[in-house]
């Protein structure tokens, strides 16, 4: 099967691989410990999946913000911030 039209690169393949792995882990977690809603600092009922979605969405904006504001500073700074943001989401959201 010719997939050259999809223009795959190793970094994007790694990104989607990690993404898939996270989804698989979340699915297995949900099967082992079914998700329950709780209300946190957002004042909204959120499940683990909701918190993952918010983490990913927030991480995308953090990286874009970093690119816009931090100039040539290495991007792992944004990744670190995103991890902290994700931890906060899973703990308090």
């Amino acid at each position: 099967m010719d997939l050259s039209w999809m223009a795959w690169t190793w970094p994007s393949a790694l990104f989607f691989g990690l993404f898939l792995a996270v989804l698989l882990v979340m699915t297995l977690l949900a099967l082992r410990w079914p998700e329950t809603e709780r209300i946190g600092i957002l004042r909204l009922p959120t499940t683990r999946g909701d918190r993952l979605f918010l983490t990913l969405l927030g991480a995308a904006f953090i990286h874009l913000g970093w690119l816009a504001l931090a100039g040539e500073a290495p991007l792992w700074g944004a990744s670190l911030l995103s991890l902290l943001f994700g931890a906060a989401m899973f703990r308090w959201a």
Binding site: W5, M6, A7, T36, P45, F53, A60, L67, A68
Partner: protein, 298 residues
């Protein structure tokens, strides 16, 4: 703590997941791949890393300035649509009959614009606004008003905003009308006992009771107007100049007109993230409403 739900029903969603994979996920993955590269065609790509994103987010670059311009125009268009359609929709809903044959007649009439395909709406307004043969354009010119949506940016804006108001205010009206009909008569009886006037009834009863449907209306109209493409493209083609080039129109110009797939991919990812965020707010707001309603009943 609520009881854990049985998650096995999700397996029934697998066919849809497969369908979405082909229609959405694979194209999105391709767009992400394109956003990191540049191409001159023939499936030959050159690695550009995050270069397109850096350009896009830097207003000093040509690409960044263009994106910022289109983003502001799109936000302004959405704001104008909401500012006109929501109050107008509430006003029309308040004047609609509550019983009798007039109810069905008004609802059918109001639903008509919603049933017309987008490209047809664009064509209707393109002809309607023409100075030589269009009813609106010829009438305004006949009155001595210099109106030409193809050459004057303000006229073009007035035309596309009016077109959206004509097309979509009915949706707000229908939502508000449903919300008004759901208010129990006891509220109005209590207001009559207190001697409340029409304004007081609106402020104290109708508007608070409409809050939920208005949230839905605002978010639906924001998302739709933020993603609008067909109607303004048919009427103005994004012109005159770039006056009505909204994000979606600019995206197509970059991707198909200039064949700058990398730039267009980076722009569409950022555009998509904005839409996704609004979608989440929409989802969170509506489901919060549902969970509150469940909480109230239990």
């Amino acid at each position: 703590m609520s009881k854990p739900r049985d998650q096995r029903a999700w397996l029934l969603v697998l066919p849809v997941v497969a369908l979405v994979a082909f229609s959405a996920l694979i194209p999105v993955m391709t767009v992400v791949n394109y956003s990191l590269q540049d191409t001159f065609g023939n499936n030959v790509f050159f690695w550009n890393g995050l270069g397109w994103f850096r350009d896009l987010l830097d207003p000093a670059t040509e690409f960044g300035g263009r994106f910022r311009g289109a983003l502001w125009r799109t936000l302004l268009f959405s704001a104008l649509c909401l500012l006109i359609e929501v109050p107008l929709g509430i006003g029309v809903a308040l004047t609609l009959p509550r019983r009798g044959w007039g109810v069905a007649a008004s609802l059918v009439l109001l639903a008509l614009p919603l049933l017309i395909p987008w490209n047809v709406v664009g064509t209707i307004w393109q002809v309607f606004g023409r100075g030589d043969i269009g009813l609106l354009g010829a009438a305004l010119n006949g009155l001595g008003i210099d109106y030409n949506y193809a050459q004057d940016p303000l006229d073009a804006w007035i035309t596309v905003v009016l077109m959206d108001v004509w097309h979509w205010t009915s949706l707000v009206v229908l939502l508000c009308y449903a919300g008004l009909r759901a208010i129990p008569d006891a509220y109005y009886q209590a207001a009559r006992v207190d001697g409340a006037g029409a304004w007081a009834v609106f402020r104290a009863i109708q508007l608070p009771k409409l809050q939920r449907v208005l949230t839905i209306a605002v978010l639906l109209r924001f998302m739709d107007s933020f993603m609008i493409y067909t109607e303004p493209f048919v009427v103005t083609g994004g012109g005159p100049g770039n006056a009505t080039t909204f994000l979606s129109i600019d995206l197509v110009k970059i991707a198909l007109g200039q064949f700058d797939l990398g730039k267009a991919a980076a722009m569409s990812i950022v555009y998509n993230l904005i839409v996704l965020t609004v979608c989440w707010i929409f989802f969170a707001t509506t489901t919060r409403g549902q969970s509150e309603a469940v909480g109230e009943r239990s």
